[in-house]
Symmetry: C2
Subunit: 243 residues, 2 copies
Amino acid sequence: MNIRLDLQYDGTNYHGWQIQPRDITVQSVLMRAVAEVTSRRANIIGCGRTDAKVHALHYVCNFDIDTTVPIERMPHALNAHLPDDIVIRSASIVPDDFRANQSAVKKTYLYRILNTEMPDAFLRNYAWHFKYPLDFEKMRAGAKAFLGEHDFIGFAAAGFTVKTTVRTIYSLDLRKNGNMIEMEICGNGFLYNMVRIIAGTLAYMGNGRIDYRDADAVVASRDRNRAGITAPPQGLFLKEVFY
Amino acid sequence: MNIRLDLQYDGTNYHGWQIQPRDITVQSVLMRAVAEVTSRRANIIGCGRTDAKVHALHYVCNFDIDTTVPIERMPHALNAHLPDDIVIRSASIVPDDFRANQSAVKKTYLYRILNTEMPDAFLRNYAWHFKYPLDFEKMRAGAKAFLGEHDFIGFAAAGFTVKTTVRTIYSLDLRKNGNMIEMEICGNGFLYNMVRIIAGTLAYMGNGRIDYRDADAVVASRDRNRAGITAPPQGLFLKEVFY
């Protein structure tokens, strides 16, 4: 049967989702827990890669397995074999053709920027500490340029292999709570490091290093050099995956 | 000169404040940073002990030192030598007779209880996960019994040495935000584990294991066996120290 897991993880102590030869990853730890609970080795398909230190408020994966463990007992059984920075929230039996990666139609990411002079001991792993001035209204104005369908090749790290670099952004909302700026972005797909480069570009617009009035031109240029830096991984959270 | 530091720390990776022969503590790490910045060994006086895994949103310490480092540069200089889970927020020169411990007149602690069936990956180090039902109104009713001056010997762990076990609680407020219950308690002093035992007792009242209508009798009994369990350390935050 095809099992879907909905989970969350604090990525601080992991080298991302994807299994690696040497480093500890969420996928490798989860594979071991599934093997311990079911006595079966499963090929776990994740909804996407996340980088080292990136978090998931809601991640989805699936695997095909032959097991007698009742589906309603699966979350507790797996959690008993997982470290407490990975939590299975629910498990369900899904149609055979469900694939956590290919079946996803859109995703929402959250990126958090702490804009204070001093760092914060409790947010060190959960936000980008940006200590220079940020003009929130400039960031909000610049954000509009990313909406809709664009070739985002200028907002991707090197080394990816995809058929097309065209993606559609459905929404890009910025919120400010005290000194915390939150960016929530929803799209049909994201290139490698794309959310972090957009976050870095908006921070540069807020700081004036990139003129926010050039936002349309920066997006249209398809030129990585005109975008901002890649914002650090600890500020990034996969928030939702839609099927 | 007598220097006062105001700092915060995430206690997750420390064996508490107080220096220990073998284990890493906040005081020992801070002493090393002060030595690196000033080339002097200082005797750092903290405002109180915190247990392993307990946090401080606002901690105060002081030390007497002869240094040419300007006081306004001290926070950044120390932070450059500290791990990022300890952050010096400010430094000031205080009168010679200021002692972070003896000069404190009251303290406020925060205790957080996450009342959900499932644990939360992001709160594992910052709240007590209590998965059984809690009746918030019973907890609030029971909390009133702790207000005022009482002999809190029934709410202290063994092994302490103090002149008196009488303490005054000025306020004890309970708040509920979604599934998170927060207890904020302010008093002129707290015995060893006192805040955690009060939190555990209120949880037991909310859960019905202790009748909340017996709260006055439980406090008056001075009997550790009538109180609830010692709530775990990760839910506890020192919030404020008053001088």
